[in-house]
Amino acid sequence: MTIVYEDHGDEAATEVPVRRIRFTINGAKKIAEVEPRLLLSHLIRQGVGLTGTHMGCDTTNCGACTVLVDGLPVKSCTMLAVQADGHEITTVEGLATASELHPLQEGFKEEHGLQCGFCTPGMMMAAKALLDVNPDPSEEEVRWALSGNLCRCTGYQNIVKSVLWAADKLRSGAI
């Protein structure tokens, strides 16, 4: 795996600080060499090559880049890749199995929870974290849990329905 750094021409290549980190992403163990200023979102997209995590605003507002770090949703544009050292990352690619969609992915399909789809990976990861701790959320709880994720297409109605659909499915499967 290779990440290409900017060369400002003012220092020798060996002077660029690089650190070796170990982390787990969607269950796979990885070792990476990263410059400290590399963002987690860039490590995921350019380093690991998982482009399901989207870069939206790049200013900590929109939540499109949300991934789970040790199970908690984090805006991956606002965490340094070096900080993933020793931690477990889950991206949207980690939701489905080889044969089956995750109930959240099914829910977004069934309830038409997306239009352009750009915010969807972040929505799903924030929703997954909610359902992990609250399997039977109210509509209001879903809305609050997703309040750090912006969608400019749907008006949120169908996103909320999709998450509630997934919660129903997960609960019926658990019985």
Partner: protein
């Protein structure tokens, strides 16, 4: 967007972190939750040469009450821990009201209260809350620890009194002497936005008389504003329509709002008075979303 190039250290002990800061001088920054610092670095408003990441330091992710009721919040206690805290819900109405209003739920998973105080954003919600409660910060440096009242901690927008080799390790909220009530109200254009106006009220009463009061304002000046005269006017009085109205008027007087895209100065000043009145009129002190 990338930050400028920097050296990164993730020490395992507080002593090691302080040594790194001492050697890094003015160009070093402490990284805790990073939810303000990383965006600032990406926008190149901050370009530290050394980042000392304290996330691996053991024993800082706590919030707990001493036997006498003093609340202690460690430097790695995240907003989400406070939002879900049974301790805060039962003993700290002002803090419990503010916790769910900090930024958005995803930012709350990373960001810390102590980091928010250090960041000293005039629109930071915790600064008003801790100021209203008469809290302080404990800073640790090469020479040991010192306690800094939060009222003396901030010197201006994004500026605090910490020495370059000091780390704020704990926030301290003094124990209540009477029955504690209060809350935090935040007017925001949309969920998760910075405050257009925020008001923190913390009151202690004994036998229907106010024994201590704190009122602080967010987003209506160049830094967090302590409405000291408004709070002092309440002490020794019962909470009545008259005393509440007087405090609301005095609080609005010390606000220094500016007209901007979030609203006119006149509107913001009016909201300060409205929020003070609303918070003091409520006895239950429960969280309420203002927007």
């Amino acid at each position: 967007m990338y930050p400028s190039r920097f050296r990164y250290e993730a020490p395992r002990t507080l002593d090691e972190a302080i040594t790194l800061l001492r050697d890094g001088g003015d160009y070093a920054k402490v990284l805790a939750g990073g939810q303000s610092l990383v965006p600032l670095m990406k926008l190149r408003f901050a370009s530290p040469e050394l980042i000392v990441d304290i996330n691996n330091l053991p024993g800082l992710a706590y919030h707990r009450a001493d036997p006498d009721g003093t609340l202690r919040i460690g430097a790695l206690c995240r907003h989400v821990d406070l939002e879900r805290s049974a301790l805060l819900a039962s003993t700290q109405p002002t803090m419990a009201a503010a916790a769910p209003l900090i930024a958005d739920p995803i930012v709350r998973n990373r960001g810390t209260l102590v980091g928010s105080l250090c960041h000293a954003d005039p629109q930071g919600d915790w600064a008003s809350v801790v100021l209203a409660l008469g809290g302080s910060l404990i800073a640790q440096g090469p020479g040991g620890r010192r306690t800094i009242p939060v009222a003396d901690f901030v010197t201006g927008p994004f500026q605090n009194v910490l020495e370059p080799d000091e780390i704020a390790v704990e926030a301290v909220i003094p124990a209540a002497q009477g029955v504690r009530s209060g809350g935090y109200l935040k007017l925001e254009r949309r969920v998760g936005d910075f405050a257009t106006v925020g008001v923190a009220v913390a009151v202690e009463t004994s036998a229907q008389t106010v024994t201590r009061a704190g009122i602080a304002l967010t987003g209506v000046g160049g830094s967090t504003i302590g409405a000291t005269a408004a709070a002092e006017a309440l002490v020794g009085q019962p909470l009545s329509a008259q005393t509440i109205g007087q405090a609301a008027g005095l609080a609005a007087e010390v606000a220094r709002p500016r007209t901007d895209h979030r609203g006119s100065a006149e509107y913001k000043r009016h909201m300060v008075a409205t929020f003070v009145e609303r918070l003091l009129s409520r006895s239950d002190g429960t969280a309420e979303r203002a927007a």
